[in-house]
Amino acid sequence: VALGAVELALMYSGVPVDPSWVVVLFPVVAWVYLAAGVVAWLRRPSNRMGALLTAAAYVWLAAGLVNTPVPALIAVGLITATVPLAIIVHLLHGFPSGRLRGRVSRVTVLVGYVVCVMLQAPVYLWGQGPAGPTTVLQIDDRPDLDRIGFWVQTGVGLAVMVVTAIVLAARLRAMTRAQRRVVAPLFVYGIFAVIFVPLTGAVAEFAEAWGVGLVAVQLGLLGAIPVAFVAAVLLGGFARTGEIEELGAWLGSGGGARRDVAGALADALGDPSLELLFWVRDGSGYVAADGRRVPLPAPDGARAVVDVALGARRIGAIVYDATLIADPELVRTAGRVAAVALDRERLTAELRASREGLRRSRARIVAAADSERRRIARDLHDGLQAGLVVLALRAHAVWSDPNAPPSMRAEAAELHAGLQTAMDDLRELVHGVMPAALTDRGLGAAVEDLADRMPIPTALDLETVGPLPGAVESAGYFVVSEALANAVKHAGAREVSVRMTRETGRLHLEVHDDGVGGAGLTGGAGLRGMADRVDALEGSLSIESPPGGGTHVIIEVPCAS
């Protein structure tokens, strides 16, 4: 800041360029760069953008020296006059980490500096300084050589810019949409500014009249660049070393409102796409937070992986966007800070994975129980019942034989009556195991059957739902059966209604009664068992049963068949 003030003072003490306000812009632009650089440096200490911007500030000050009356300083100003452009090229290639990635970038930036430092030589060796006819560096007055130098510099400079534009366009294409939204305007603006400035310089060669106004526009354009960079740095994904401490503090805070560790890491490291994977203890691989197994991304892609360990024990991995976070060490540090919390979440993820396994095995058990019920019902039907009918027929034959002794006939009649009772009981038993209406005609017919057996008015609103998976049908049937039985037995309901619909692959069943209410899953084993059945099918069962307000049992089961 002080240097800028000194430079200003020098400008005004000497022969001011007319109009003098333009020269003020040089230190002002330098201050803007300085401010942007300092902000970036403080907010992201590991990021080199801040350092680059700060360096650019000093170069701008140096370039501004051309407008001072001191010949030595004018020389410095002439030498550095175009270096700011090279630094902007460097910033564009280095974004967002400040480090150059790839050989093309490194060569292009190097050529940029060569163009701005070496090819500037003709200007101060053979050309005329803006403050006077000669400078201390001038060895000969050769406007022709100066001219050639100028065109070579402009040509090579443009080539550098074209390559830069191509590199940046390629990077933009590889970015995610979110990244592109932040970075694209910056790249476009940067390329425009750096092409515009030398181009207008060249055009101005032919149109002298543009003069100082043009210089002002150029300086304004270039001066806004650091602001754009800092905005992109802070808005877009940026390694926030400074926030690692904050991350630690957050992890230590505990409390109920904590988000997951992955979210906190994503915030701290500035990569919204960051994923946290957990190492399963049996060594079989990584799982995501929901218990899903996930493979690690290929090491050469845009996604990079850093292992997280607690002591010597591997507990997980952080998968991040390598284009947003250049420094894996930073991710590793964040991982170390978060390791303990991560381990806890790992246990949670492990638990979820085993819970998923449990759910599957439960679904298998329910399905097995169902097919077992069907088999039992069929066997009872086909064998036992026919056998009983035949026995009863023989008892009847004995009873109706006029030659048989009366005592035997009486006994046969008794036997016949007993067999009839046994057949009634068997029918009830089979019905309870797996009702024929359900297996033969589906859920709708079976629910109608239930309603027929109800001692209280039972309204049905049954949509034709088409064929359903066997397990869904059984679950729906047993829930309705249980709810209807409860309405009569426990709720003392006067009326009950059943509704069945199917929407977008989900079967929806409701049973409403006008009984005493107060029912819940904790009350009896009946509904609890039903809830387990529904749960095993990834469905939901809910009971609303306010005291005195009736009972509403609602289930929803996925039934994409």
Partner: protein, 217 residues
Amino acid sequence: VRVVIGEDEALLREGLVAVLGRAGYEVVAMAADGEDLVRKARAHEPDLVVADIRMPPSHTDDGLRAALEIRAGRPGTAILVLSQHLIKRYAFELLESGPAGVGYLLKQRVADVDRFVADVGRICSGGAVLDPEVVATMLDRARRDDPVARLTPRQREVLGLMAEGRSNAGIAERLTLSEKAVVKHVSHIYDELGLVPAPEDHRRVLAVLRYLDRPSG
């Protein structure tokens, strides 16, 4: 009377043959699955088809479908379907094929020989026989869904007089009751019909409307 039997359980099939034979029916063919039953019924053109509902190949309602197919081909054929369990829809489907000469009975009724033979006789002479359990279920259902049917005979009498436009005093005089007793009956009728007091309702009119509106008349 010539009969074709469809029953996949050999023992039961023999039992049916014996029962029907002793009652004077002539069993001309037997089948053990639905398709065979249709084939044999076509070949023999029997007067009566007795079919077990659950038969191969699908072991669901093959027997019923076969019987309906036979009846569609020869509408005069009497049909008796037997089943381990009663499913109301089966009874409806059967009756829809024409209410004359049809029967739907539980298998176990076969062992109640005298009654079974009488039922078969009614079916053959153009009657419709439904298992008493199906009938009971339907009647229960009709009564259950009709609140007027749930009233006591005395309450129904009172409601009837209300429908004739009598006042409580008039009803009391007709039934030789105290007017207070009539008021009590009326309030029970309101309860039974689910009519709660509401400023915008006239409960006496609503009760009479329910009485006149009921399905069975």
